[in-house]
Every structure is written in C-alpha cells, then in structure tokens.
Symmetry: C2
Subunit: 321 residues, 2 copies
C-alpha cells in the first residue's frame, strides 16, 4: 500500500480541482491510501474514500519562510507534518513553492549525506514520449561542485523511479562542450562528475531538449533561468500560433484543415501533462504541482507522486549516495 | 565617412555571400568606405568599389586562441589588425567566434576603464519591432558584480547607438524578483546597479522577451545558457510547425489558408534579421555575424556595424563609464 498526503487547499483553484483529481485517481488505483489535508467541511464529499486531517488556513502564494513556519494550522504545514506522523510515502501540494520547499526541508529533513535538496523538473523533448530530467531548477542559488555531483546522483534515482530504466546520459549544462569551457563551478564539477559512469560530459543549452540527454544538471540559479526562459518562449510562440490561427476567417479554416497534424506538437507543448516538479533529497517524495493546476494536471502530479513512492525513490537515493 | 573592415572569407559560406552583401550595401550607402580582407583573386569582382587587403588563409571555425594569434596571414587576423592600421570605425566577420573575440580584445584592446568586454546580442520580443539587448551572452564565464554594473552601462550605450533612444528599463536576470532573491553575484550586483538611474531591478527569465525590458544583464555563463536555450526551443517549435504544415494534403491546404496570418510570427522568429552579435568594450565596433550567414543576414550584420559606427557607440561607452 502506498500512502500519500495531499494539501487539498493550496493551489490557485483550491479544493474544487483537488477533490476531482483524487476521486479520479482512486478509481484507477486500489493500492493507494490518500490522506487529505484541508477544510473538513469542503472535503465532506470524499470522506468515505480518504482519511481527512483538518486544517484551518491556507498559505498565500507569495508566502515567506517565516510565515510558512509560524502558520502551523495551514494546509501545507499540516500536510508536510503528516508525512512524518502518518509514516506516509509522499506529499503533494499546488501551493506556494517557496513555502513547500522550506517546510519539506525543515520538517521532513534531508536524506543523510545530502548537502542540498534540489528542485527537479521533468521536461518534454523533441522525441515524442521521451522526457529529460532537469535539476536543480531553483531550490538553491549558489552551489558547490559537490552539490552538482550529488544532483546527478539524485537525478539518476529519480529517472529510474519515474521511468523504470537507468539514465544512460547524464550531462552538465555548459557554455560549450570543449574541455576548458565552463565557469569555475562547472570546470570543477566536470572533474568530479567523471567518477559517475553515466556522465557523458558537457551539453550546450540548445541541445538539452533534443532527447538524447536523460538527466541534465545545472546549478540552481542557471537551471531556474533556463527553465523559465524556455517556458517563456514556448508560451510566447504558442500564443502567437493561436493568434495566427484565429486572426481571420481564412486562417480559422486553415486551422480546421491542419488541426490533426498539429496534435503531436500541441500534446508535446502541454505542460499540464508533466504535472509538477519535485523536491529531491528530502526523506519523502515531495511533489509540487503547478499553482494554477486544473484537475487534469493535479491528477498527473498525483500519479507522479504515487509512481515515485511506489518505486521507492527515496531508498534509491540513499543507496546511490 | 564611416570606414568598415570586413573579413570576407571567415563564414561557412565564404566569399560568395560576403561579396553579394557588400555590393548590395554599397548601393544603398554612399557615406561608407569598405576595406575587404581576403583572397585577392576571389575579391576581383569588387575591386573597384572597395579597398582590398589580401590575406592568405582562413581560420577554422573551431580555432583555438593560440592558433588565431599565430596564423597572422588569416583573413580574421588581418581584418582586426587593419582596424588599427587604417583607423577604421568597425570590423565584421562571420568566422570563428572564439578567434574573433580573442583577436579583437588582444589587438583592438579594451576601452580604458572596461574590465571585461562582453558579447551582446539584440533579440526580438513579443512586441513587433521591439528588441531587447542581452549581455553578456558568452564572452566571459565568471563575473564580478562590477562586471555586471559595467555590462549595464555598455548595454545602454549600445541601445542608444542602435535604436537612437535611451534605454528606460535595464534589468538584471534573476531567479525571482523579490528582494533577497538571487545568487551571491546578483545580490551584490543588484546593490551596485541601483546607482544606475535606468536600472529597474530584477527580471525573471520568463519575462525577458515580453518587450518591456530594453537592456537585460546576465553573467556571461548564464546569458549563454539563456540565449542558447531559447534559440533551441524556438528552433524546435519552428521545425515542428513546419512538419505539421507539411504532414498531409489537408494540412498543406490549411497552410495556404493560414499563411498570411502566420507572417508576423515567421518574421519575428527570423533570426537572420538580427544579423549578429557584437563584442562590446573594445576600441571598435566589432560585429560577429552568424557562422552560417547568407547574403541577407550578413548584409544585416553589415548594416548593424555601420549604424553603430556612425552613431559613435565607442565614444558613448567612453562617456558612460
């Protein structure tokens, strides 16, 4: 039995979408116990299929660490605490990223030997069905070469737990692929990473989404800039495509004719499929769904939490380090 | 009279495209003298409209700094040297970026007071006709807060010389916009940059191309990852759109109907319009066209060189610092 705690209240769309996601998920999974944290009244409709832990408040999206720690009756705080108390295997929230990361690190604690937990984000590549795992995309801001070495190890464990196979290509993002390229940090990390048999060297940012790389390592600052930059451009281009297809009667007709051929692209660009990012390096599977998740994407984040918990990702990391 | 030196041989497509670009350019500009560096025989067709400086070899694209310095008869070395000898206002090459950057720094020398020259790249935004200026995108790998402060100053001078108006929004790319966000470098640079009246704070990578930012400052490593990441995704999505529109008879018909509405997007995504990047901080206008430039994009890079030289960008930087 896999046991997962869910912060039912934290996202922009509140309990309406989390309740729907939980109902759908439990229809398909009979080996999972859900502990739902939230307002008892609104969770009434699912009281027979989940265990409810009542919470009294919701952390705001722009919540600071101090507030997150103090507001002990919030759904996020109570959910993360419940992981330890209930001996659960994972926790999921669509609330404030900052609060979730700090609370999971402070309450669930780091895995022994882990220096810095990292935020990991699976990302679609140009090869249909193939994802690349990016880390750190923003849990940390300043890293040591040893951090990057550990990120690779943790990314490997994630890859295996999520996709059921070994990562064959672990790369470090750099400003070039020749020896001698890189900043001070990547040059030192590159030396350390060569101890990892699945490390295949530097990769340039333009090739990260080509589909050859399995685990892509960045320091947390650069990874955050990469992820947000790429998401920004994809969103901009997606928006422009939509505008173009709705600009005139003629282009609308064009869309009807081309629609079918655009399906693979639209599917690939659908970030809702990915569901969420994960804080890796703490003693649980801590998944952060997008703040603006709908029931579909929250459901995907829940499936991710379940899969990683079932495949014992945390144990894999312990073995890997 | 504006005097520009051109390495006619360096790009992937050699003199065929540079000759065509020079011919077209000179038809439209009678206040510009071109000094063409290359194989005398192949430059024969333009010997009446330019001054020719013969060169005997071409640096390979993957050329190291040592080779670039030693191979003194190369078109790149001779072009950059000619800037000093001929008192030219600018230099343009489509050859090896590494060689061009090193030679321009070593031979043309840094502007007094400049710590680190930077590679600057203008980039289209979602607002048609509005570009954002990104720097450093890869001339340096490890920067000090003072470097970032100077990058902002140099970016301002570029913006004014290229677009004829003051940069109103200078931003520093960061992993968040709240005070307290950032890595050690950006936190310190943020304090320094507040001395600049046009500095309006941190920007997240996802908003860089929104069209509000005029000059966007990165350390050279992060800027390189951002630029290449964004180019990679844009290229991937462009390729997928093309595939979708050519996938079937129906989608081809759809393209014919929607084509007109897609024009603004296709124009925006056309990186050939931008022409090239610039090494800023040396004693000349040093423009590096894309290695795979065609006559059109090389012509745009030439126009950029001419515009910046005519508007005395180098003098502006001297005043700014």
């Amino acid at each position: 039995m896999v046991k997962i705690v869910i912060d039912m209240m934290g996202g922009d769309n509140g309990y309406a979408i989390t309740i729907e996601a939980v109902k759908n998920f439990l229809k398909q999974h009979d080996d999972c116990e859900i502990i739902a944290v939230g307002d008892e009244k609104v969770l009434e409709p699912i009281k027979d299929i989940v265990k409810i832990i009542p919470s009294q408040s919701i952390l705001p999206m722009e919540c600071g660490v101090m507030q997150a720690m103090r507001q002990k009756d919030s759904s996020c705080y109570k959910a993360i605490s419940a992981v330890n108390e209930e001996k659960a295997d994972g926790v999921l929230s669509a609330g404030s990223t900052g609060a979730f990361l700090s609370l999971a690190t402070l309450i669930n604690k780091k895995i022994p030997g882990v220096e810095r937990p990292a935020l990991i984000s699976p990302f679609p590549t140009r090869i249909p069905g193939k994802s690349v795992v990016l880390l750190d995309v923003g849990a940390t801001s300043d890293n040591s070469p040893e951090d990057l070495y550990q990120f690779a190890k943790m990314g490997e464990a994630y890859y295996k737990a999520a996709y059921g196979e070994e990562a064959k290509n672990i790369n470090l993002v750099c400003n070039g692929t020749e020896e001698g390229k890189g900043n001070d940090l990547t040059k030192k990390a590159n030396v350390l990473l060569k101890q990892n048999p699945h490390y295949t060297g530097y990769i340039e940012a333009r090739h990260v989404l080509d589909g050859k790389c399995d685990v892509c390592v960045f320091d947390g600052f650069t990874g955050n800039v990469f992820l947000k930059g790429v998401e920004g451009v994809a969103k901009m281009m997606g928006g422009m495509m939509k505008e173009a297809f709705t600009a005139s009667f003629s282009s609308k007709m064009g869309y009807l004719l081309a629609k079918k051929s655009f399906k693979p692209m639209i599917k690939l660009m659908d970030y809702k499929r990915v569901g969420g990012a994960l804080l890796i390096g703490v003693n649980t599977v801590a998944v952060k769904a997008h703040g603006n998740s709908d029931a579909y994407s929250f459901g995907n984040a829940l499936t991710l939490t379940y899969t990683l918990a079932k495949n014992k990702m945390v144990d894999q990391i312990k073995q890997n380090l």
